[in-house]
């Protein structure tokens, strides 16, 4: 075989000394189809990055202004579409805050359980997809298998796998079915087993560790002033979790811990999400016990409030009595009459602080529905994580902030 003996001197190949611009996305598989990054590269080092979201903008806020308060629910499903029930809960709580009503205890616990199931599915998707982007396909498939079981339980309750639109202003569309308790109790250990099995493939894997540890670092100070929240913020060591700091629903009655990271790197974000799935499982198990303790027939034993100005009357009555027909008609056509005012209500969504800023001028239509999308702010902080790193490290770093197009671009 001939030796490779290239004469570099005589070959007039000039390597560019200027930084090279590279366009990454939006149709790049690791950009999840909705983000474009314009990079300025020096060799393989990222000197400058301009992240451009907006490819999935569907005018959520404008559409919300055009319908009634209840008609926003289907849109919220499509914000963070891997944990739609958490968005439903967030919006329902915001309108209820503006109305000044509280859901009965059973309804609150029900929201907590379904919300935490959603959180598990969110974190499974994110961690699985991140591992897949690093070449580990098996954990991704296993985690999606587990996510499917979670969705089966959600389907049993809500009738839909993905876009549930299940919660209502003042409660939920339906009470827990008879299968709910046994189904969820059986599901949790199975899901956790799959989670443990999947991460056992990753956490001793040299490739996975090398690609994630010390990569995409976000500092504490930067995370806070950038408004990063959820796992991205907690991975830097700040223990801010809305469920603990300002407990809503029945989160104050259950015992769980808030995992925090140390370095704020991709590995820590992965581990925080992993530990949060385990904590969610704890919350669900305790909440199922709380649900059992509710005395049947007591005022707590209802998923919705009974105010006919807010909640639709039961269907049998709508079909048989004129009062209920009128109430139903007025609620559907005119919407819930929300008093004038403005509130900002926030919950812990899949990606962090999911806030709704609502302005009402009275009447059945919102004046302004603003959603504070957690991953929009995390994506902004992502600029700092990427800058100065290697081109190839963008992929796990971007994967670990769990950018969900629907929520980010609204």
């Amino acid at each position: 075989m001939e030796p490779l003996d290239l004469d570099y001197e005589s070959h007039d190949l000039e390597l560019p000394s200027e930084p090279m611009s590279l366009n990454m996305g939006p149709s790049h598989p690791a950009m999840h189809g909705t983000i474009r990054m314009v990079l300025k590269l020096d060799g393989e080092t990222v000197q400058e990055v301009d992240i451009q979201p907006g490819y999935l903008h569907r005018a959520f806020e404008k559409m919300s202004e055009r319908g009634t308060w209840s008609q926003v629910f289907p849109y919220t499903d499509r914000l963070n579409y891997v944990s739609p029930l958490l968005n439903n809960v967030g919006y329902a709580l915001a309108v209820e805050k503006l109305l000044g009503v509280t859901v009965p205890r059973k309804g609150q616990i029900y929201r907590v359980i379904l919300g935490e199931l959603s959180r598990i599915s969110d974190h499974l998707t994110c961690n699985g997809a991140m591992a897949m982007e690093l070449g580990a396909f098996t954990p991704f498939l296993w985690m999606l298998k587990a996510r499917e079981w979670v969705w089966e339980a959600c389907e049993e309750q809500t009738g839909a796998r993905l876009t549930h639109s299940f919660f209502r202003i003042g409660g939920a569309a339906a009470a827990p079915t008879a299968k709910f308790d046994p189904m969820v109790r059986a599901l949790i250990p199975r899901v956790m087993e799959v989670v443990d099995e999947s991460v056992s493939l990753l956490l001793k894997n040299r490739i996975f560790l090398d690609r994630t540890q010390g990569v995409g670092i976000l500092t504490k100070e930067h995370a806070a002033q950038m408004g990063a929240s959820g796992p991205v913020l907690r991975s830097t060591g700040i223990d801010f979790d809305v469920r603990k700091d300002k407990p809503y629903l029945t989160y104050g009655d259950v015992d769980f811990e808030v995992p925090v990271g140390e370095d704020g790197d991709t590995y820590d974000r992965f581990m925080v999400r992993l530990e949060e799935t385990r904590q969610s499982a704890r919350i669900i198990e305790q909440s199922l016990d709380l649900l059992k303790k509710i005395e049947p027939g007591s005022p707590d034993d209802a998923v919705s409030i009974s105010d006919p100005r807010i909640v639709l009357p039961p269907k049998p009555e709508v079909y048989t009595t004129i009062e209920a027909t009128i109430a139903h008609f007025k609620l559907i056509m005119e919407g819930v009459d929300v008093p004038p005012g403005e509130v900002y209500s926030y919950t812990e969504g899949g990606n962090g602080e999911l806030g709704f800023f609502l302005v009402s001028r009275g009447g059945g239509n919102p004046w302004r529905v603003r959603v504070r999308a957690p991953c929009f702010l995390s994506l902004q902080a992502c600029t700092e994580m990427i800058r100065g790193g290697m081109l190839a490290d963008i992929i796990p770093t971007f994967g670990s902030i769990n950018m969900i197009g629907g929520e980010c671009d609204r």
Binding site: D12, L13, E14, Q52, P53, G54, H57, A59, E61, K62, M63, R66, K97, L98, G100, E221, H222, A224, Q225, M226, G227, A228, I238, F240, D245, K246, G341, E342, V343, Y344, Y346, E353, G355, F357, V359, R361, W367, R368, R370, R372, F376, L377, Q380, A381, D409, R410
Partner: protein, 200 residues
């Protein structure tokens, strides 16, 4: 708890805090637009407020085109929510941007870097300009978009014009379809580039 911030603000800014209110547990202070950035800086740096955590910034269009004049005073209300991670309180500061065709307010990027994208979004959707913003471009929409869709006088069913090819450094029309003798350039050999120049 965060009554304290409202009191601190009133003590510091006096008449420039136009109103304060607490509704359903949210503490709100309306600031005179001329001292917008100063007030935000105070809330952030004052040790007893210590609002180091940026939460949200956006705007509200207060004009109802059915009843109000589009040039009404104080048409746009910009708000910012900040919170303290240590003291666990939060506050919403609002200001009413004096209107006109071109509402302008001071940018809060020097206070919280996180305001950068949120202000770009408010600029994009409401047309509020933030003075001192390092990179004020549209963020969710494209640069050729006409109008600002979250303004109340923007009809939701308005059609946007088709966008012509962008003129720029990247010759988009050269990316394809290729001539018969052209393919995607796979190497950077100078010779090949010469060939192409001749072919053109």
């Amino acid at each position: 708890m965060s009554k304290l911030i409202l009191d601190r603000l009133k003590a510091e800014f006096g008449g420039d805090v136009l109103e304060t209110s607490t509704f359903r547990g949210d503490d709100v202070a309306v600031i005179r637009p001329s001292r917008w950035r100063e007030a935000a800086m105070f809330v952030r740096s004052d040790p007893r407020c210590d609002c180091d955590y940026f939460v949200d910034l956006s705007a509200v269009d207060r004009c109802d085109p059915r009843t109000d004049d589009l040039d009404m005073d104080d048409r746009f209300e910009v708000y910012v929510i900040a919170s303290s991670l240590k003291l666990k309180h939060r506050i919403r500061l609002k200001t009413r941007v004096p209107s006109g065709e071109d509402p302008v307010i001071a940018s809060l990027v020097p206070v919280w870097a996180g305001a950068g994208w949120q202000e770009r979004e408010a600029f994009d959707l409401f047309g509020v300009r933030f003075e001192g913003h390092p990179d004020l471009r549209r963020i969710l929409l494209y640069e050729e978009f006409k109008g600002h869709p979250l303004r109340k006088d923007y009809p939701a069913n308005r059609m946007q014009p088709l966008v012509p090819y962008r003129e720029g450094t990247v010759p988009l029309d050269r990316l394809g379809p290729f001539l018969t003798d052209e393919g995607m350039p796979l190497n950077r050999s100078p010779q090949r580039d010469d060939d192409r120049d001749e072919a053109l």
